[in-house]
């Protein structure tokens, strides 16, 4: 069965405008290069863990729509094609995700290595900046 379309929420334009203006007038907490902070490490943040858990659940369900709901919109067509007809192998991905190895993570992008039947694959998430991780590659 083909996947159903994922509906995107449509925010009222007024809210968008107000929100963007708020952003213009709020601070960042970035530090200048003369006051360095070392934030990059390979430990998975709680948000990443939570998203990975949701991915495991989605793949375990063997429901393509559940997985696609976690995919970033631009990559949905690509992932839709990838998932087509893979229902009975999705649990293998879920199992692999449980043993995922984090290769890189920052505030906006995370890349993992997973192994399925001895073959290594890359899975990647991206974060739009709102703390809402999404799947972009598997």
């Amino acid at each position: 069965m083909k996947t159903r379309r994922i509906r995107r929420s449509r925010w009222p334009f007024g809210i968008l405008l107000v929100s963007l203006l708020i952003i213009c007038y709020t601070c960042t907490n970035k530090q200048s290069p003369n006051s360095p902070s070392d934030e990059n490490n390979l430990s998975e943040t709680p948000a990443l863990t939570a998203f990975s858990d949701s991915l495991i659940t989605a793949f375990s369900s063997e429901n393509e729509d559940d997985v696609l709901a976690l995919v970033r919109s631009e990559y949905r067509a690509t992932c839709d094609a990838e998932l087509n007809g893979t229902r009975n192998t999705m649990t293998a991905v879920a199992q692999a995700l449980k043993k995922r190895q984090l290769l890189f993570a920052n505030a906006l992008y995370a890349e993992y290595k997973v192994s399925i039947d001895g073959t290594e694959f890359r899975i990647a998430y991206s974060n739009c900046g709102d703390g809402h991780w999404q799947l972009i590659r598997f």
Partner: protein, 631 residues
Amino acid sequence: MIKLAVYLLAAGVCISTVYGYENTKAHPAINNAIISFGENYLADKLPDKNKWRITSDRETYGGTGVTNSGYSYATYSEGTLNLTLLQWVEHGGYSADEPELGAAIRHFYDPTGHTGGRKYLTNRGTSWEWLYTLDNLLHPQTDAIEWAMGDTDKGAYNDWSLKAGKKYLAFAFELSDEAEKRMCLAKAYRCLGEVLHNTADMACPPHVRNDSHAAPLGYAWGELLGSPDPYEELFDPQWAADYLNGKGDPSLESFFASATSIRSINEKLAQFTNHNFFTEETINGAGYQPLSPINKDGDYPQPQLQNLDYDANDFTFYRRFPSGNLVKLCRDRRIFSLRGTPYVDLDCAKSQAAELVPNILCAGANIIRLFLPQFQVQIREAVPNDYIKGQVVHVKSSEYPESILYSGPIDLIDANTGRSIEKLNCSTGEFIGRNPKFKNGDQLIARITLGGFTIESPVYTVTGPVGSTHRIGFQVRVDGHFLNQVATPDTSYSYENDADGATFSSSGDYIGGFASNTFTASYTRTVVHMQTNGTISAVFSSDKLKIISLIWTETTTTQYYNKTVNCTAVNIPLSYSYSGTSIYEIKGEEAKNAITSLTVVQTAAEGLSYSLQSWSTDWNGQVYASLTKLE
């Protein structure tokens, strides 16, 4: 490129950004690597007697820097920072992305103009940039290079452009006040850092392939803004140092080494990156099947998957570059299909950086080469127990076409021992010392040390009070290589530095014209402490290749001396071949035949008078007379 640390509206918290091709780590690290590479690279490429090194300078220079990061001009702030020159270059790598939202729009340059000929960002960013024109501060529809260079109407809004940096550096040489010099140096090196930020961006694929990657403002607004780009995110600041000795593209290196403009270097680098690299969302061509890029603005003609080398063992598309680097451009191994849509992962990013970073370093080093004005320091006369005098001559270049007249300290050095003999003061390009501590036979060097520069004179051997020369000049202002037009007001510029409370200016006018074959002009020129007034009346031959008769007067007033020149001359030949070097010169008897009378009266410091030794014209109409002091 910056990451927009985005306000989490629901929770009301700010998310800090880490690593990637961003401005707190990566750009400062790249700028640091450029400086390290550049100091070695330039060791044998600067003109004779010109050296440059800033990494060993531990002094701090007070200047204006970004003290608080922010999204807009309303929320970011600048203040006084005291940093070393190297730190100012690093800071420029950081500050170029501040405030962030504006930078997120302006740091793109598509060398191909693939979208309707536009080189600025059109992908996604333009759908929201209008919001920020409300305060007219973000200056959208501006490409990254014109912003960094400051050489267009749009780019002129950038206070920290190359144009501004060169102005500050010129002022650092011209101003005599030490505090003002230091302030200008700080600003100049921050500008250099911001230009090098642009250089680094031009070797970052999304910046040159119209691929907006400003972090979107949330899931629902993903249509408005770009998505994170893997290369941008995966770039490890450590790679800048790791690839310090990497191999760059030989043709690029050749181009950079012979470049005469900084703009051309960044443009060339952008062309190279655009032509040879994908972003994840602009992968194009036919791999295992025909593919359309995710970014609909990104269907660039090059590169194309089918033209790359595919290795089925690791599912990777490779390109062997002329540097010898075998680069992983993308791979297409997917979990559910043997081969799927290609992507850029960590391995690819690191592999690409191995090719791109060395090219950044070479480009940056040559940008520094062109950013540094070049000078010749000359000791002209040295009379034991009497005086020493000399000059600092700026060697004009395409980046510095206007004369820079150095004012500031000169170290007089014993060439054999390296010891400092005494400090001299140079004013508007000339220095004079009274009762110097040397004797006949001593070998001397005059040295300028300023802001990383060390500029030395050739060794001068004191030979006693024999005839010496003094160089003066005036400009028969002509337009190009023809003498049938006249310059309108010329070399007029001014600068006020309100932020620091200091004001200094430099201005000049040259007004005159031809009436038939007769050229008359009067001019004034004020440069810092030097005021020059002059008049010229010249009758030219009908072919404008000869001055039949010339009457020229000029009075120069400085804080150290006054000088009056009265010159009459006949039959001065002028021809122009645009060779870039002096195209006509006569000396000795010939010069005396041309210039019928010439008197120079210079009051203070010595009250000298001179006789004519030679005169010459150079390619742009500058006329020089070399004089011998009358004993």
